[in-house]
Amino acid sequence: MTNNEQLNNSPGATLEAGRPQVMLRARGITKNFGHITVLRGVNLDVNLGERVILLGPNGAGKSTLLRILAMLSRPSGGNLEIAGIPVEETRASVRSLIGVISHLTYLYEDLTARENLHFYGKLYGLSGERLEHRVEELLIKVGLERRAGQRVRYFSRGMQQRLSLARAILHQPPLLLLDEPDTGLDRQAAEMLAQVVSEPDDQGQPRTVLMTTHNLERGLALSNRVVVLSAGKIVREAPAQRLAGDEVQSWYYEAIRR
């Protein structure tokens, strides 16, 4: 099967009318050290506006793959393109296209909510009024505008997660990578996560999302394509709509047992 056919057969391509725009293209991504192999040739295309959920048993390499895509880790082999830009050439600047949410909040406890957002905003080159405006807008969006002047140390876990959500979309990244984002989320934060993931970004473009999760139900609700990783390889792919209820469970467990 050529890449072309593969892409056209993939559900993402059929979702979008017309030609697909590839947000993320991974070809033959491997990660190994000596004889220890974590990823053995992962090919993955995520089109603009697609929301892909990555499933798989522990140790399948989900986190490793996500970390490679976020450029926190270097692959041993393979090619990676983000928004059509080869990552190897411009590692540093391509990072501004990515927003990452993980179970860690990345926040500084002794800075206030506002200071945290200002700090991360400046790292991404926002400044002046644009930054002010963006920070206030996001604080309202995640419902923390009244507590913006308080240190994050005194925030509840759910509030920290909401602030972390704001941090991740601060620089309006077209691609969101979510590494088990629902660990320790309260109801409010979970709803907010769902909202952020499914709504279009501020330029009206649909968000492209790749996520791993342990919460199968919530993950399926948020995504429109399921990719199953097992022993460092993609073993199955299917559109999320085709999978419903118990069928998913059995399909999922069958897939990871292959």
Partner: protein, 247 residues
């Protein structure tokens, strides 16, 4: 695949507009922001500063109690003791600088920033340099008082600066390494002391020479060594920092 790329419409990222020119400004921006953030956090919590100051004070007091007879000939031991106090205090502060980043995963947040990783190193090193030098400048008069032997000489300033720059460079790199290991607090001094030996020797020897009013010729080569050390390790850790932080 090449054919596919042609079919795809390019996605508007705005990256094309900001290219080469902004890479450098992004670098300085990230380094500066990391530095300012550390200073701001420290001004608020005084965590690193207070632990360093209290610890170095205790070290000096232990010397006073352990060497009561030597106080009369303080000129012989004072330079060495002063640098021992600085070294220990420095290690303590350096240890905190990355442990704070690790707790909520904020180090990872920094790694996502769109700039070369060494920018983080230089921002952190500048912050550590500031913390250590402030503690040193505060400790010197207290030291002079307790030992009844003044080490407050303007000529010592270059020695202090050269020595502390070396501390901050190597210390920041090794602190970033130690934070990713199991025995993180213990490991830093084990890595740090053997490498810092040239600086500690050169700094305490030149301090001794200055305090006993020996001519400048005697310390010029020691200062030169420290300058050389600082110069080499201003460049090398920056090159290696990416390797320290990636997986």
């Amino acid at each position: 695949m090449a054919r596919m790329a042609k079919i795809d419409r390019p996605i508007e990222t705005g990256l094309e507009k900001q290219k080469e020119k902004s890479a450098l400004s992004a670098y300085f921006r990230v380094a500066g922001q990391v530095f300012l953030k550390d200073i701001r956090t420290e001004l608020r919590t005084k965590e690193i500063f207070s632990s360093m100051a209290v610890f170095s004070l205790l070290v000096v007091m232990v010397f006073v109690f352990a060497l009561p007879g030597k106080l009369k000939e303080a000129g012989d031991v004072a330079p060495g003791l002063l640098w021992i106090a600085f070294t220990f205090a420095g290690v303590l502060g350096l240890n905190r600088s990355f442990i704070n980043e690790k707790d909520r995963g904020s180090l990872e947040g920094l790694l996502l920033a769109p700039a070369e990783r060494s920018a983080i190193f230089y921002g952190k090193a500048l912050g550590n340099f500031t913390f250590i030098i402030v503690v040193e400048l505060l400790l010197a008069p207290i030291f002079s008082m307790l030992f009844n032997f003044s080490v407050l000489r303007l000529e010592l300033l270059p020695v202090l600066l050269l020595g502390t720059i070396g501390f901050a460079e190597i210390g920041t790199l090794f602190a970033a390494m130690a934070v990713n290991t199991r025995a993180r607090e213990v490991l830093l001094p084990v890595l740090f002391f053997p490498i810092m030996l040239p600086v500690i020797i050169a700094a305490s020897q030149s301090t001794a020479a200055i305090l006993s009013n020996r001519p400048f010729d005697e310390i010029s080569s020691a200062l030169g060594l420290m300058f050389f050390f600082d110069l080499i390790f201003a460049v090398v850790p920056g090159m290696l920092f990416e390797l320290v932080l990636e997986e």
